[in-house]
Amino acid sequence: MKLDFDDITKRYGDHTVLDAITAQLEFPHVLALLGPSGGGKSTLLRVIGGLESPEAGSLMIDGQRVPTTEQSLRTFRSNIGTVFQSWNLFPHLDALANIMLPLTAVHGLSPEAARNRSLELLERLHLTGHAHKRPAELSGGQRQRVAIARAVAIHPRLLLLDEPTSALDPEMTAEVLEVIADLKAEGRTFILVTHAMNFARTVADQVAFLAGGRIVEQGSAEAFFTAPQSETARRFLAKVLKY
């Protein structure tokens, strides 16, 4: 997959979150966006997912321009699977209904077909016994796996994972990381924002390091972790990998 950023700028009031990013990111399957908090990773991910419109600049995904009108953005977003840090499941629907909703309401599947596809996914994620539980009755790790199932069920062209384990304890984190590793093994294409450095190193093909609203450096995961080019990245890695 190839992402072409041309002068992408995003501001919140006076605060510039993405500072005229111009870059090309190419990766076979998995791209990790790394960097300090407030560096612009999550915002960049949201721009890629069409959830945030930049003030200036444009973005091409595999040579196709990301639309700017709400109408076409909706279609664009419906073909991208997004997983949020705090899962954002619908609390009034059980796990199965959460996965089925986009399938029936947006993708036009019959309830029958949507149900079958959702149950199959729940089984693959070892959640069969939890199909009829609401999010409040599930653990954090289970919720996040349901959220992943909801994102995968639509057969997205691209998956976006925004700090999927940041709100989880270590045991649940392992649970969810395992699922994400499986996604890679299945050959899915996804972009991951994470603070789990060791995981990023094993799962990502390519890494982009963001700080101060800019892509400071990019490269293969191996190269980035063994020999970071920039001083900022070196200091960041030294700090986060110290303990």
Binding site: P102, A105, V106
Partner: protein, 248 residues
């Protein structure tokens, strides 16, 4: 509840019950009842009571529709709609029902040629109650977190689908208990329709009173008749509140 609190509660209830019983006894002693005169008119009471029930039902249904429209209007994209809805809600909530009845019935209904006083009465009661229901629905809609709307956007739901699948079902939790309370209010407020000559429960009691001169015998059944309607509704409201409080 601790043991101490339980004992206190029991004592309070016993005390209140004793006082109430004593008061009732004193009244019953002091008055010479004359139920026979009122009993003749039982059919009038009955018919008035039934009218109050269907008038309240009709007004409740219509006011939910009006409330929903006004609540959505306040969130509309067009400023004119937002202003119209806000104006309606504030105007109605800021004035007494009695004043609205007088103006809307004798001025507005008269001007537009609405002759049927039942239709006019129900309409005015609905307009009144709809403003309150609008605020309940708005509160329910606004209780839905931003992350839910974000999620709806991410999976590609349209504005209408977001309301249907995400906002309304969750807002119901917040809206149902106060809505049941509003139903009880409508039943009570419908008594004011008696001033328009609508033959509901209160007017029936007034008619019986003027025919029999037995004031207490006419109005005591009136209070009991209203309680028979509002108590079950209040209990329902309480139950809904408890049910939704523990279920997330």
């Amino acid at each position: 509840m601790t043991r101490h609190q339980t004992i206190n509660a029991v004592i309070s209830v016993l005390l209140a019950a004793t006082l109430l019983a004593a008061a009732c006894f004193a009244i019953l002693q002091a008055l010479s009842w004359n139920w026979s005169g009122v009993w003749v008119y039982r059919q009038v009471f009955w018919q008035g009571w039934l009218n109050t029930i269907w008038i309240s039902f009709a007004a409740l249904a219509l006011s939910i529709v009006l409330g929903l429209l006004a609540a959505l209007g306040r969130r509309a994209r067009y400023p004119a709609l937002r202003w119209l809805s806000a104006g309606y809600i504030e105007l109605i909530r800021g004035t007494p029902l009695l004043v609205q009845l007088l103006i809307l019935f004798y001025v507005v209904a008269d001007a537009v040629g609405l002759q049927n006083r039942y239709a006019a009465g129900i309409l005015i009661l609905s307009v009144f109650s709809g403003a309150y229901i609008a605020e309940m629905i708005r509160g329910g809609i606004e209780s839905i977190g931003k992350s839910q709307l974000e999620s709806a956007r991410a999976i590609g739901l349209t504005r209408w689908q977001t309301y249907r699948h995400v906002i309304f079902p969750q807002a119901m939790r917040h809206v149902l208990p106060p809505l049941a309370g509003q139903a009880a209010s409508i039943i009570k407020d419908s008594s004011l329709l008696s001033i328009l000559g609508i033959e509901e429960f209160t007017l029936a009691a007034q008619q019986v009173n003027s025919a029999t001169y037995s004031t207490l015998e006419s109005y005591l059944p009136l209070a009991i008749g209203y309680l028979a309607l509002t108590l079950p509704v209040s209990l329902l409201a309480r139950r809904l509140e408890n049910k939704f409080r523990y279920e997330t």
